[in-house]
Amino acid sequence: MQPNFRALVIDDEKLARDVVKKHLESFPEISLAGEGSNGFEGTKLINELQPDLVFLDVQMPKINGFEMLELLEVQPLIIFITAYDQFALKAFEVNAVDYLMKPFSRERFQEAMNKALQSLSEKKPQASQIKNIIAHHDSKSESLDRVVVKSGNKITVIPVDQLFHIEAQDDYVMLYSTLGNFLKQKTMTYFEKQLPPAEFLRVHRSHIVKISAIAQIELMGKESYQLTLSNNTTLPVSKSGYKKLKEIL
């Protein structure tokens, strides 16, 4: 049988990749397009090779599997493989393609492959499922401690304490940080919920600021306020934003 689909394995342990590769040998309809040992390699490989199926580890250096998914331009089918069960139940709830727990049996792998092959042959769009997984991952994490962004081919990990301003821009948000400014496809609500509430405040529909980066607040007109950040950016403050500011400061 000619291979119809191409797969990628991304895991930071060679032995873990080897198991998947070995099991894949009994699926002639799948060809191995490549393997990566971290999220950076993974992002590059997926965007370049556009595989149909990706076996993805969660715990990897610098950026984890979920964060890697945020950086993809294409959305392949994902089968997670991890030793941790805390994401597994959630993934099943949101109907992920599958979630394999290390170590797994040949039968369990077969089962996952059956699901994946069925999805692939039906050519079901997978993006929504992946988005679901990501959204779920977002909602369960306690509070964000880093944001992974991509500009061109460069991936940057921004520690949350380096962020000082987030601005809404249509479907994106602009992240202003000491490492530079980056666009990210996320909502303001997401950041409002995930950033540590003691450090960040949504002062306006379109602006979230780091509280310690606020230099001054001025009264502009009747009940209208303006805020200046320590880098001299000025932003409008909404009525409710001003109320929250007054409570904190």
């Binding site: 342990e13 060679k14 032995l15 198991v19 070995k22 715990q59 250096p61 030793a83 170590p103 880093r146």
Partner: protein
């Protein structure tokens, strides 16, 4: 004594009267006083109703003083029936004898209470020290090493992979894992073991992780031969290696050096573990719990704080453990 002096010199009674009166009074009172003990025992000062205790004592005092006087009068009036002046004196002295009886009652009771207090205080001290050693034992138990289950799952996954790809290595890895698990199990029963045994367990762990991460772990050691036999708390080294792997190796894209050095000084054994560390890594939550655990264990065992110290140089994380040498 006071009674003798008063009777002899102030009132000028003969020696017969003086000694009979004094001795009899003292003996009788002493005899009765023994019973006060129970009075004190059953009327604990710590009981809620102090008023009731006071009333009890007042009644007991009145009663015992009366009995005492009754007995004194009964015996003395018979023994010294010949001395007319003495008998009149005896009768006249009954009120102040009664008063002295009550006074003596309270003196003795106070003394008993003091005794009871001292006894319970002493018992409390003993119980407290027993409790302290129990708490210490319990604390040591909770601080005991626990294997990270993910380490086992990941190791089993490596074995599974080796079985499929390199069966001959799978056997070796299985034995290493079993060996490591066995030594961690036994270590929970032995508070201390020779440094070389502790080192062996920790290196087994590192070996297993090396099978997983390959060239990403580079291990160096520089060990003082004299240190090998020194007893150290069990499972102090492995959690530090685990820490180095977790925050050094797991989060790194490039190989990580782990360096173990021991230095034997006159009163301490210094164990130094260093690992390359990328300061860019945002440290995850829960970091340091394992290290704090080791520090608490060391403090409980040696009674000295801060035997474990951490320093973070530019790209190097260093842990120093000072083990006080026991006197032989």
């Amino acid at each position: 004594m006071l009674q003798i002096v008063v009777l002899r010199y102030r009132l000028a009674f003969g020696w017969t009267e003086v000694t009979s009166d004094s001795l009899l009074s003292a003996f009788l009172f002493g005899f009765i006083a023994i019973t006060f003990w129970y009075q004190c025992r059953y009327n604990s000062l710590e009981s809620a109703n102090i008023l009731r205790v006071l009333i009890n004592h007042a009644l007991a005092a009145a009663l015992t003083a009366a009995i005492w006087l009754g007995l004194i009068y009964y015996f003395l009036s018979r023994i010294l029936a010949t001395s007319e002046t003495y008998l009149t004196f005896l009768e006249a002295s009954l009120p102040w004898r009664y008063f002295i009886g009550i006074l003596l009652y309270f003196v003795v009771v106070a003394f008993y209470y003091l005794l009871i207090y001292y006894q319970s205080f002493h018992e409390k001290l003993v119980r407290e020290s027993e409790l302290k050693s129990l708490v210490k034992e319990a604390e040591l138990k909770t601080l005991k090493f626990q294997i990270n289950p993910h380490f086992i799952f990941n190791s089993l996954n490596s074995i599974n992979s080796l079985i499929l790809t390199m069966p001959e290595n799978a056997s070796e890895m299985t034995v290493k894992l079993a060996d490591f698990l066995r030594s961690t199990l036994s270590s929970n029963d032995v508070p201390k073991k020779p440094f070389q045994e502790e080192l062996r367990t920790a290196k087994l762990y590192l070996d297993i992780e090396k099978t997983r991460f390959g060239e990403k772990i580079i291990y160096h050691e520089n060990i003082d031969k004299a240190a090998l036999g020194i007893p150290v708390p069990s499972m102090i080294l492995q959690p530090i290696f685990e820490n180095a792997v977790k925050y050094g190796v797991y989060e790194s894209l490039s190989p990580v050096n782990i360096r173990l050095t021991t230095r034997l000084e006159s009163h301490t054994l210094n164990i130094i573990i260093e690992n390359d560390f990328d300061p860019e890594n945002i440290t995850g939550k829960g970091e340091g719990v394992g290290l704090r655990n080791i520090n608490s264990r060391l403090e409980l065992m040696y009674g000295q704080p801060n035997l474990l110290k951490t320093t973070l140089a530019e790209k190097l994380f260093r842990i120093t453990i000072n083990i006080p040498l026991e006197d032989e």
